[in-house]
Amino acid sequence: MAHSDQGDGATRDDLLQRVALMETMIAEGRRTTTRYGWMFLMWGLLYFVGMGWTMLLPMPNLAWPVCISVGIAVVIVKSWQKRAGATENLRSRSVEAVWEGMGIAAVLFTVGGVLSGHGGQPIFMAAILCMVGMAHGISALILRWGMQGVAAAVWWGCGVAACFATTPKEMVGLFLTASFFGMVLFGLYAMVLERRHAAAPVQHHA
């Protein structure tokens, strides 16, 4: 044990190294638990595909069921893969729970809206936009991440604007605006940050 000789500079250095090691590892353990940028990008692109299919391609009724099913399948496969080599912490589980809850609510709300014939109303679109904004907002508060707060504000802003929409074209425009800034661009930004973090030097003290 190297603790009793405090007059020895090497021993003191050794203890200071231990402190530095602990700080590095604690920070490393906390920072490497969440990588979701690709998911925002994927959902944003799927929203564009869904909307484009609905407007331009045959069998528009299949557009959203197919796009949402593809998204859910990818998320399930990825979360299964994550289980095979990752960590669990309360923060990442909380963020996942928020998005899963929002996803379930949005799907049920959409199915209900479509079946009841209210799906095309501005208030319906506004509710969907605000739901996504809420998930972004809660996630931003949990992670204390200002940029995600901005993404939430984009969704909420478009949600409020959708309440005043008078034509389907305006509603589609607001949805695509929110998807582009609040999902595609935000996802790309998150991926760049994650890549930077992954590339940052990590001290290995084996």
């Binding site: 044990m1 190297a2 603790h3 009793s4 405090q6 003191r12 203890l15 200071l16 231990r18 402190v19 090691l21 602990m22 590095t24 590892m25 604690i26 920070a27 490393e28 353990g29 906390r30 490497t32 638990t33 299964w80 289980r83 095979a84 080599g85 990752a86 960590t87 669990e88 912490n89 309360l90 589980r93 990590v202 290995h204 003290h205 084996a206």
Partner: protein
């Protein structure tokens, strides 16, 4: 002059200290993740994890993720207590350096 505190030898090992520090930020971590973060080898990490387990500082859980076997570790309450005591002892030893 007050007596200097003893540092827990189980925690003081660099790799064991690194692992315990990593585990403070997560609920559970699998062996491969710990290996990657510490840059250690299978054999060395396995041996150190066994020591931590024997001391009661970490608990191991084996499960299957699909068909893949997975070994998960989490820090126990006594591991947290021991690490806190280790940090307190370090502070005392280093005095104003922290």
């Amino acid at each position: 002059m007050p007596e200097l505190p003893e540092l827990d030898p189980v925690i003081h090992g660099k790799l064991r200290l690194a692992v315990l520090s990593l585990l403070t930020g997560v609920e559970k971590a699998d062996f491969a993740w710990l290996k990657e973060k510490t840059g250690s080898t299978d054999g060395n990490l396995g041996a150190q994890m066994l020591k931590l387990e024997e001391a009661g500082y970490v608990a191991m859980e084996k499960r299957f993720a699909g068909r893949k076997p997975q070994t998960l570790y989490r820090m126990t309450p006594s591991g947290r207590k021991a690490l806190a005591a280790y940090v307190a002892a370090l502070k005392t030893l280093l005095g104003g350096a922290l």
